[in-house]
């Protein structure tokens, strides 16, 4: 629970912290567009290299970004295997027969259950998962003993492989970029920046200040609510709720015992927050003066120019290559 990085700010003092939040938000949007402009895997790899470079210069540890990616691991693996299995364009790279025989099917089932029971003990769960998957595949490919029930084909096409890596890399880059933004920007600064970036929408009578406030408060309360959820889990565990085990009927009860206090506490917190804001004379929609104002520096101009260069490069690559 505590490993969720989304929305967490971690203090630091690299140049990424000194850039104006407006610049960071605009640059994030520009870079995302640039990433979506890219067409081939090689450019995407180059993009990943640049992101790595950015992390290195910005002194952000890769481990932290990885923690931010971990909740998306399932999605990443899913899109990856989907592309590999079902994309049938390009040249055929691998074409092997899978033997579903009376021997291999029980073997696979045995392997699966072995994985189910041993995965709790193993430290490197992801690595272990890949290991088991490759073990299952090799059993299917190489063991052709016994009465054959069915035969399947595992065909991998060059385009499929390329697209699989391509889409996975694109997801990783986008999530990394947004993680960099939230890691290096204080929620208050993010709020200021968003408000300022959204200002043009005022022409369409959109209340940008309120939107920015809503976003900022939501971001601010993610870690708080996670802590609360953790405390509730401990309190209910003290009353015999076993969150790891139980039948379906018990599971429902477990979730209810978590959600009800969670809702009550959230309502209470928002009520308290509203009171605290009102006590400090906050009126929604009214113009407010600020303690901190945003300053545009030469660093911002440089950063934004680099972002634009990246965008134009990827547009050029799309048109000419």
């Amino acid at each position: 629970m505590k490993n969720i990085v989304i929305g967490r700010y971690i203090p630091g003092n690299s140049f990424l912290y000194k850039i104006d939040p407006r610049t960071k938000i605009i640059a994030l949007i520009i870079l995302m567009v640039a990433v979506f402009m890219l067409r081939s895997l090689i450019f995407m790899l180059a993009g990943l290299g640049l992101i790595m470079l950015l992390l290195a210069i910005g002194k952000i540890s890769v481990k932290r970004v990885y923690l931010g990616l971990r909740p998306l691991m399932f999605l990443l693996i899913f899109t990856f295997s989907f592309q590999i299995l079902f994309n049938t364009q390009g040249t055929q790279l691998i074409d092997v027969t899978l033997h579903y025989t009376v021997l291999t099917i029980p073997l696979i089932i045995a392997l699966f259950f072995f994985w189910m029971y041993t995965k709790k003990i193993i430290r490197f769960k992801l690595l272990y998962f890949f290991f088991i998957v490759s073990l299952i595949l090799s059993v299917l490919i190489f063991i052709d003993v016994g009465y054959t029930l069915n035969q399947g084909a595992l065909t991998i096409y060059s385009q499929g492989l390329e697209m699989a890596f391509f889409i996975m890399l694109r997801l990783i880059i986008i999530v990394t970029l947004s993680t960099i933004l939230t890691l290096t920007t204080k929620p208050t600064d993010l709020n200021l920046g968003l408000e300022s970036v959204l200002k043009p929408l005022k022409i369409f009578r959109v209340n940008t200040e309120e939107i920015a406030m809503i976003l900022a408060i939501s971001l601010r309360y993610i870690p708080t609510l996670l802590d609360e959820a953790n405390k509730i889990m401990l309190a209910q565990a003290s009353r015999g709720v076993d969150f790891s085990e139980g039948k379906l009927k018990d599971k429902v009860m477990q979730i209810v015992s978590l959600l009800v206090p969670m809702f009550i506490i959230s309502f209470k917190r928002s009520d308290e927050l509203a009171n605290a804001m009102e006590a400090r004379s906050f009126v929604p929609g009214r113009n407010r003066t600020r303690l901190q104002t945003l300053h545009w520096s030469s660093l911002d101009t440089v950063a934004l120019s680099i972002a634009f260069v990246a965008l134009f490069t990827s547009i050029a690559l799309r048109i000419f290559v």
């Binding site: 505590k2 990085v5 967490r8 971690i10 932290r64 709790k120 003990i121 609360e228 405390k231 509730i232 401990l234 309190a235 209910q236 565990a237 003290s238 009353r239 015999g240 709720v241 076993d242 209810v256 015992s257 009800v260 206090p261 009550i264 506490i265 209470k268």
Partner: protein, 287 residues
């Protein structure tokens, strides 16, 4: 048996790699029966973390716990070789904030939630709820009310009843009397002391009230900066130790005794633990 801490250390994992050290080198043995312990210390000194180890809610980062024969350390938790749920029935822990546990439609349902999780029949659990609601100082009419419409003190009492209903062998209370009026506080403390005396159970109370410590406790634990700095007799703590250093205060009855000694220019042979004892000593002095 009982609860044993062996060189227990606990770190809250933060985002900086260091983490926050909440317990360091705790060695402690608590008997399964007949103890009445108070746990004191400044806020943030690790009291709550310590008691959350006692029913295996938290696992020591290093070191080992022995809770009623079950060994809890990183290894046994990772391998899932210990069953944690039975431990939590035997060692009941009441949290500081009742909001974290109340969730049912009625107080009665909330009180029977714990025992039902441990396989107590519904009728039996309801029977317990009816008794316990009186024990914690409310009446049966509360059983049909919603726990969310109660006052802070009433919620607290309901949450205590919810743990008592599980009939734990060892009862741990995290600041059970915070947010209660003085009368209610004394009433509840008497309840806990009664549970301890009548049933011989071990009771552990976290408190900031030195009078509670001095009046009831047979043994007092003092936490400071993640270390257990004192484990022993409360009389010895308040009369001999330099407790201002630990941000603790002297109990009222001792303050009064010291003032009387100063004003009357006498020295009492012993230190009184409650009003009655002080009165007794004054009568003796008069005679």
């Amino acid at each position: 048996m009982g609860i044993k801490f062996k060189r227990v250390e606990f770190k809250y994992q933060g985002f900086d790699e260091k983490g926050y050290l909440a317990l360091s080198n705790i060695n402690l043995t608590i008997k399964p029966q007949g103890e009445f312990i108070t746990l004191i210390g400044e806020t943030g000194s690790g009291k709550t973390t310590l008691v959350q180890h006692m029913n295996a809610l938290l696992t020591p980062t290093s070191g080992e716990m022995d809770i009623l024969g079950a060994i809890i350390n990183q290894e046994t938790i990772r391998k899932k070789s210990v069953k944690l749920n039975p431990i939590r029935q035997k060692v009941g822990l009441v949290f500081q904030f009742p909001e974290y546990q109340l969730f049912e439609e009625t107080v009665e349902k909330d009180i029977i939630f714990g025992p039902k999780n441990y396989g107590v029949s519904e009728t039996e659990a309801i029977q317990r709820a009816k008794e316990l609601i009186k024990v914690v100082g409310l009446n049966e009419s509360y059983l049909s009310r919603s726990p969310f419409n109660l006052s802070g003190g009433e919620k607290k009492r309901v949450s205590i009843a919810g743990i008592l209903a599980m009939n734990p062998d060892i009862l741990i209370l995290d600041e059970p009397t915070s947010g209660l009026d003085p009368m209610g506080r004394d009433e509840l403390l008497k309840v806990f002391f009664d549970i301890h005396q009548r049933l011989g159970k071990t009771v552990i109370i976290i408190t900031h009230d030195m009078n509670t410590v001095f009046h009831y406790a047979k043994r007092v634990l003092v936490m400071r900066d993640s270390y257990l700095v004192y484990d022993g007799d409360p009389m010895n703590l308040f009369t001999k130790k330099n407790i201002e250093h630990w941000n603790l205060d002297i109990p009222d009855i001792l303050k009064l005794t010291y003032q009387i000694e100063e004003r009357l220019d006498v020295t009492f042979p012993t230190r009184p633990r409650n009003k009655e004892a002080l009165l007794e000593m004054l009568k003796e002095l008069e005679a």
